[in-house]
């Protein structure tokens, strides 16, 4: 049995021997870069994460089909991807990203879906000096940690619901009180804390500000606590809890003029709530009904890059069984575009040069405006991109219909106040 104690040693030695190698071969004119990421193919985040990966893969396919990224010196860059399943589990993320960098020799990294996972991966990226574009991750705090190589594709959490406050004041200038019920997780807390500050700055009161456990199913204690005379209810968290909250707000006949919630409302599945979803507003990173276009970008004097919205939607639906792309998919594709643009501008795949190009990036894509904060304290935070606010309204056939209502320039319909 003495052999037992050597088993791990032998195993480790064998592993050690096997690990090196697998470097990418390169010719002068054509190079292949590896983009590494983890995807939550299983676990609680799998639906959103798979959509995100679909978007990213579509970008890879487009680039390679178009003959790769062409640099000024004539080199052609082809894209290869390497990914692992992180099971929606943060523990795995750091181990897998270390593996992506050291064993799979990934040149650039894309973040996993969701803020906590992206946060964990960002530490590794920075530790090994690799550029990482985060998508599907809106928390602001990642960019306050002194990272220099992490760039955000999403509008940060702090600007997620502030538009709802503007919308409320426009619809009802006399509105005074906003009740906030939010999920006690990092992302939602970031959103509502910033929103509360914004609301108070605009002269509104926030008489109720309560967090709930993300696994909550019974919102009665919270709803019963909403003070009388509240004009709007805002908050929520992720899909499940927010949907439940919306349903129970309806069942309990809360007389708010406006209900603005996180994450869930833009999802097509939200319409399954029927009556309960009518008049609920929410914000989305991107919607197929958005109105970004090369012409509009030209008017602002900012460069357009990549496909237009109809081109993207068409290509995506053709590839993925006619499934309409969600903002997760758009974010995945946009992450690729951000990297592609930076590599083209830098004319190189050297980390420092590409990072410098990232810092200067300022463009419009089908996904919207992209520009990064470059102040040392907030480096990499998304500054350009804006949220789109949608509202569920009763359509002509009586079924719920999604309408973009804010900002005014992007809207496809008029926002309404709730009558409950």
């Amino acid at each position: 049995m003495k052999f037992w104690k050597y088993y791990p040693v032998i195993l480790l030695v064998v592993l050690g021997l096997l690990l090196p190698g697998a470097a990418s071969s390169a010719s002068a004119a054509e190079k292949t870069i590896t983009i590494g990421f983890t995807a939550s193919q299983t676990g609680s985040l799998n639906v959103e994460a798979i959509r995100q990966i679909n978007g990213l893969n579509l970008w890879v396919e487009h680039v390679n089909k178009a003959g790769g990224i062409k640099l000024k010196d004539g080199t052609v860059i082809k894209i290869a991807t390497k990914f692992y399943d992180d099971e929606s589990n943060k523990d795995r993320v750091q181990e897998l990203y270390t593996r992506l960098i050291n064993n799979d020799k990934a040149d650039f990294l894309i973040s996993p879906y969701s803020s906590p996972l992206a946060d964990a991966a960002a530490v590794i990226a920075q530790q090994y000096k690799k550029i990482m574009i985060t998508t599907g991750a809106a928390s602001d705090s990642t960019y306050k940690k002194g990272f220099t190589l992490v760039y955000q594709a999403y509008t940060p959490a702090s600007r997620y619901l502030t538009g709802s406050i503007d919308l409320l004041q426009k619809l009802d200038p006399k509105a005074k009180k906003v009740a906030v019920i939010y999920s006690n997780d990092k992302f939602s807390t970031d959103v509502v804390t910033a929103m509360k500050k914004y609301a108070e700055g605009k002269g509104l009161q926030v008489p109720m500000f309560e967090g709930y456990d993300p696994a909550t199913t019974d919102f009665a204690p919270f709803i019963n606590k909403i003070p009388a005379g509240v004009d709007a209810v805002m908050g929520g968290g992720h899909f499940t809890d927010t949907t439940t909250l919306a349903r129970q707000l309806y069942e309990k006949k809360v007389p708010a003029k406006m209900i603005s919630l996180l994450v869930a409302p833009p999802e097509p599945k939200f319409a399954e709530l029927g009556e309960a979803c009518i008049c609920v507003t929410g914000s989305s990173q991107w919607e197929p009904l958005c109105k970004y276009s090369p012409e509009a970008a030209k008017k602002e004097g900012i460069e357009w890059f990549g496909p237009t919205i109809p081109e993207f939607v068409k290509a995506y639906e053709a590839k993925f069984n006619k499934q309409e792309p969600s903002y997760h998919s758009a974010g995945g594709y946009a992450a690729g575009l951000i990297l592609q643009k930076a590599i083209e501008s830098a004319g190189s795949i050297d980390t420092a040069k590409v990072a410098a190009a990232m810092d200067k990036e300022n463009m419009y894509t089908f996904y919207g405006h992209i520009k990064f904060n470059t102040a040392p304290k907030l480096h990499g935070l998304q500054e350009g991109h804006e949220m789109v606010y949608i509202q569920w309204q009763k359509g002509k056939n009586g079924k719920p219909e999604k309408v973009a209502v804010w900002p005014a320039a992007a809207s496809t319909g008029k926002a309404i106040l709730c009558k409950r």
Binding site: K5, V9, L12, Y128, K144, K145, G146
Partner: protein, 322 residues
């Protein structure tokens, strides 16, 4: 000290020692990450064993000490700027103090009642920390990236964390052994076999149980601080994962509770097993069910765990498999 000539101790000690040494010699980052996870679970399982294996008291909330101690240690590093070594100790000490206080209250309870009390503690701790502003509430805490500079850059800091964890794991093995061989440890075994009789024979059961609980809780606090420092941030959901408590428990049972080598091999085997299963497309989705199945089979048919089974089967190996 003829105690130190026990081959059983050296088998366990050298296993952990050489495992870490190989990683240090090879200096591979990926290997280090894998080894970090394994060593972490070795430390957690071996420290749980001090309470569960020696006294027979199941603790479903072992990870609470990992979370609370880790939170506190991380707080010392990120908010107060303490050096990692001192902060990790601070995390451990806080865990030990909390265990002592809980122990004084709850360990007067017998068996099943104690287990019940530990089941809710995880949720309560998570809810508490989520609402506790000095620990950042639901958002958690993070270290600024520049904190790693102090240890010679991020790369160096990661190696340092690994070495510290390795030392902690070794310390758990040594302490487990010392406790087991001491008069105190004999008292614990007596409690496990028959608490009433033990008390009649002069074992101060509540006090001894509390001490075992305290020692068992100290190490998760240390490990937690190191783990969160490596991660760069800490959030309530990562710190108090009930699932992790369970996995540690399965590891102890798998290797053999009450033995020195049991939790070490249990943690190693479980981690490797999970590593293989995750890659396999069929088992990937079933790994919780599978660990449940393993646990059930062990409880029903091999209550002594893997190492215990070998000891029963091959009595001559007993001095090697402590």
């Amino acid at each position: 000290m003829h105690n130190w000539r026990q081959p059983g101790f050296w088998v366990s000690f050298l296993l952990v020692f050489l495992g870490g040494l190989v990683v240090l010699v090879l200096r591979q980052d990926t290997l280090r990450e894998t080894a970090f996870t394994i060593l972490m679970f070795v430390g957690l399982a071996a420290s749980l064993n001090i309470l569960m294996g020696y006294t027979g008291y199941v603790n479903f909330g072992h990870i609470v000490f990992f979370g609370l101690g880790g939170y506190f240690g991380f707080f010392l590093v990120s908010e107060l700027g303490w050096p990692l070594y001192v902060a990790a100790l601070g995390g451990g000490v806080l865990s030990a103090i909390i265990a002592y206080l809980i122990g004084c209250a709850v360990l007067r309870l017998r068996g099943a009642y104690f287990a019940l009390a530990t089941i809710g503690v995880n949720e309560a701790a998570r809810a508490f920390v989520s609402n506790f502003e000095p620990f950042g509430g639901a958002t958690g805490l993070y270290v600024n990236f520049s904190a790693y500079e102090r240890y010679g850059g991020a790369g160096q800091a990661l190696w340092l964390t690994f070495i510290l964890l390795w030392l902690v794991a070794l310390a758990v093995v040594v302490v487990s052994y010392l406790v087991k061989r001491s008069r105190f440890g004999l008292g614990l075994s007596a409690i496990r076999e028959d608490e009433d009789t033990a008390m009649v024979m002069g074992v101060n059961a509540p006090m001894d149980k509390t001490k075992a609980f305290l020692i068992s809780a100290f190490f998760p606090g240390l490990i937690g601080t190191l783990y969160f420092f490596k991660n760069g941030n800490v959030e309530p959901d990562d710190a108090f994962r009930f699932q992790m408590s369970l996995e540690v428990l399965v590891m102890v049972m798998l290797g053999g509770k009450g033995l020195l080598l049991g939790p070490i091999l249990g943690a190693f085997a479980y981690e490797r097993l999970r590593g293989y299963l995750i890659v396999s497309p069929i088992f990937k989705n079933l790994h919780l069910a599978l660990s449940g199945g393993i646990l059930l089979l062990i409880v029903l048919f091999v209550p002594g765990g893997g190492v215990g089974w070998f000891r029963d089967r091959f009595p001559r190996l007993r001095r090697w498999l402590e």
